[in-house]
């Protein structure tokens, strides 16, 4: 049998593809295979809208923080040098340093803003990770594989939002009530909010959104009918430090009338 150049290239391509597929297969028992879970919540591009009109007191934000930290066994370490956080609060001028000025409403300046990993479209944290321990999934979630983390903390230096915490001490003694279905982390690794990827992929909703009484909305940015798309369409929203180009996917609705008083126009 003679093989012309075109035929040879085709054959070589197929053999290469078959070999690649065989090698790429994950170890499984005879006849076994891996699939995604039925009912998994999926999106082309996950995003979150935080409606700050619904977080006016420290109690509103604390409820959300406690729920997340409990679900993910995040340790509560009071020593600020060792503290670990997935979701936390800060003041407007710290959250949006370049979008603040001296004459913002006082009520806004005093309001606790919720902060978490922004699941950036162009995340510096993944680019600097030398072991690929943190990486962006196809649906936009910036995931973290603690097994591979070597604790170099490059990602912490890379993240412009302070979204990552390092485990300076063994976190276990500081985990309060334990969620027996989720692990902890160990000393020497970096951790952050995982956008509840473990829950979404099993068909459970994002935990902070679940307890937020409508203050946090999660959905698909690619779907114009999703609630996040509709909120973004209707409201003026802020992202953190947009000029840095990380392209955050957590958007903030900030109310235009913080004290709720009558508008007065003299004209």
């Amino acid at each position: 049998m003679s093989l012309d150049r075109r035929g040879f290239l085709k054959l070589a391509g197929f053999i290469g593809l078959a070999a690649g597929t065989a090698c790429a297969r994950r170890l499984a028992g005879p006849g076994s295979r891996y699939t995604t879970a039925d009912g998994a919540l999926e999106a082309k591009r996950w995003a979150m809208v935080i409606d700050m009109r619904r977080f006016t007191t420290a109690g509103d934000t604390q409820r959300v923080i406690d729920a997340c930290h409990k679900a993910h066994n995040v340790p509560r370490i009071d020593d600020v040098r060792h503290e670990v956080k997935w979701i936390w609060t800060d003041t407007f001028d710290h959250v949006f340093p370049d979008q603040t000025h001296a004459h913002l409403p006082k009520a806004l300046q005093e309001r606790p803003f919720l902060l978490l990993c922004n699941q950036c479209d162009n995340p510096p944290c993944t680019r600097v990770c030398p072991t690929d321990a943190t990486y962006r999934l196809a649906d936009g979630i910036v995931a973290q594989d603690y097994h591979r983390c070597i604790g170099c903390r490059f990602c912490m230096a890379g993240c412009p939002y302070g979204a990552r915490s390092f485990n300076w001490v063994n976190p276990r003694p500081y985990v309060g009530e334990v969620n027996p279905e989720f692990p902890t982390r160990s000393i020497g690794v970096v951790e952050k909010c995982n956008f509840c990827v473990d829950r979404l992929e099993r068909g459970e909703v994002v935990r902070c959104a679940e307890v937020s009484a409508g203050g946090i909305v999660v959905g698909d940015l690619n779907d114009p009918e999703s609630e996040v798309s509709r909120l973004l369409e209707r409201h003026y929203t802020l992202t953190r430090k947009p000029q840095l180009g990380a392209r955050p996917n957590v958007f903030y609705i900030v109310d235009d009338n913080v004290t709720g008083g009558e508008e007065e126009y003299v004209g």
Partner: protein, 136 residues
Amino acid sequence: MQGTPKNVAAVAIFFLVIAAPHLINLVYAKAWTRPSEDTPRIRALAEKECLESEGWMRRHHMDLLLAWRDAALRDTDRVYQNGRGERYDVSLMRTCLNCHSNRAEFCDRCHAFAAVEPDCWQCHYAPEQVAKEGWR
């Protein structure tokens, strides 16, 4: 000079040192004992089958766990479907340890015999550890 008592002694000591672990084991090593499968969940099973056959699991469980880690974390595949068509949550804590809730008699017994110290337990925890001692 060859064969002097000094040389013979040196060679003998050398082999003694090399063989020391085996000699010590001859005296002190405990025999392998079968890991216990006596847990409430396993007792309740009609057919006492793991997700794969016992022989396969014994040989491959460590590699399977690594494959599970990558399937769940990298490929978003959270379900393992075995040859019998049964589906399992790809999770050490929700699946494996749910049945094998006796870390000391199941995991540790063999690992101690084989002198391996897997670091799973730094982050994943054994159910009975939380039940008995509280979180550590």
